[in-house]
Amino acid sequence: MTLRETALAGAPLTGETVVDCHMHPVRVAQFFSGGRDMAEVAAKMDRIGIGCGLLSCFSDVGGGKDRHEWIKEVCARWPGRFFGYLSPDPHDGEFREKLEKWAADPVFVGVKLHPVVYGVPLLCNEHRWILAFASEHGLPVLFHTWGCADICEMERAAEEFPKAQLIMGHSGGERDGAALAIKMAAEHENLWLDTTRSFVYCREIEHMTEGAGDGRILFGSDATWNSQEAAVGRILLADIPDESKRKILGLNAKKLFHLPV
């Protein structure tokens, strides 16, 4: 069966390497989401055939636990199923020490930075320090991006930190940002596209593949907030070869994050 036929049968992607590169382990108050806990999400991943997910968390979640401890617990409950992003708070005076501590744990395979959540410029001094750290430790960095201004900042980051592998989270968001992200990914070998978005434009995956090639596009969903079904569907039913779909769904992530999947 082709991947399209598998999707139209509603069948799990058995035997495929599928890595959701953009997940969160706890729900948020801003909107209603059906992702109550990671057990529910793991069951959903089984139904679709998503073998692995990469988690980030922007705040400590209570119980006196550091967010990285929480991610580590989730990863330990499902060994090999989930891995984590280091998720430093640039306002925390100890973020450097925490980053160094948690980076030593093999569960953490990348860094997630969210300028909007923390109200800092995408290329603030703290993020520059983190980018240098990530470059040195071979950790890919996933940024939240939305709009052309963010993508322009990503270009600056890519040029300033040529050894860093930088993922443009949400691929710049709305149309203009997404189009610019595709252009930047085509021009910079260390910039990656991310399919995570609550909506995706008609034929956008085809435009990504055509514009930037299939080798630097990553599948993501924003689960436990957003739908993995919708996220996987836009790739499985895109008008691109199965070989490209496999790269986007997981093979690119496996290579980028050195995942044992």
Partner: protein, 253 residues
């Protein structure tokens, strides 16, 4: 392949004055996307209804539908008070004669610019209630208080809210539970387990499949249903059964 029959209630076709980047506007392109994603039919409205006038767009949609029968015509409607659009009874007669089963409303300022309040749309809604004609309304064209008022004032009006932003479900779900003839088009259910949770809270019979073609990915819309945890029976209701029941059509096997 899927045993489900996907019938899309949320489709817009036609060249636009200011086409958004990547939007698929032509009927052939829309049909190609439908084929890729296993969508059998779409109930489509023409963009001329927005860029020119509903009368022009509706006539154009009939032409498109004659050439491409998988694209079923949907009319855009507006109130008749200014004399530029038929009175409700004449409108329904025209629809019946032309095989048009649903209406779409674009009341927002700079769209078709009119009020959904009873002093404006009351006569239209009364006729639609009496004749059982479903109405499609984009969430971005109105607000939830207005939706609540329309449903309260016209409890038999079959109102399908389309293109609902995923972050709006705390508004939508109580309204779906409150109003028997209020329905939700599914393409906006892009929260985690969105279809499953909405079906659990409001009932699978309230959900009508839609894609948002030719602006949004039909692949996402289809897989929301295919990979949901709903029973096969409920998936079939969402994919096409609920819409067909609403339109009074038997399922074509």
């Amino acid at each position: 392949m899927s045993s489900l029959h996907f019938y899309d209630c949320n489709c817009l076709v036609g060249t636009r004055n200011d086409p958004p980047l990547w939007a698929v506007c032509d009927p052939e392109g829309i049909l190609r996307e439908m084929d890729l994603c296993g969508v059998e039919r779409a109930w489509a409205c023409h963009y001329l209804c927005l860029d020119c006038h509903p009368c022009a767009g509706n006539a154009e949609m009939l032409t498109v539908s004659r050439e491409h029968p998988r694209l079923r015509p949907v009319y855009a409607a507006m109130p008749h008070h200014t004399g530029e659009f038929p009175e409700p009874r004449a409108l329904i007669e025209d629809m019946r004669a032309s095989g048009v089963q649903m209406l779409r409303l674009f009341p927002k300022y700079n769209a078709n610019t009119f009020s959904l309040s009873d002093w404006s749309c009351g006569p239209l809604f009364e006729e639609l209630e009496a004749r059982g004609v479903p109405v499609l309304l984009d969430a971005g064209q109105t607000d939830w208080e207005t939706v609540h008022a329309v449903c309260q004032n016209h409890p038999a009006l079959k109102l399908i809210m389309t293109n609902v932003y995923y972050r709006n479900l705390r508004y939508v779900i109580p309204l779906l539970r409150l109003h028997k003839e209020l329905y939700l088009e599914t393409s906006g259910l892009k929260i985690c387990n969105g279809l499953d949770e909405t079906a659990k809270l409001a009932g699978a019979e309230k959900l009508i499949f839609g894609t948002g073609l030719g602006e949004l990915s039909a692949g996402s819309a289809v897989c929301i249903v295919l990979y949901s945890a709903l029973s096969d029976e409920d998936k079939a209701l969402v994919a096409s059964g609920n819409l067909l029941r609403m339109l009074g059509e038997e399922r074509l096997s």
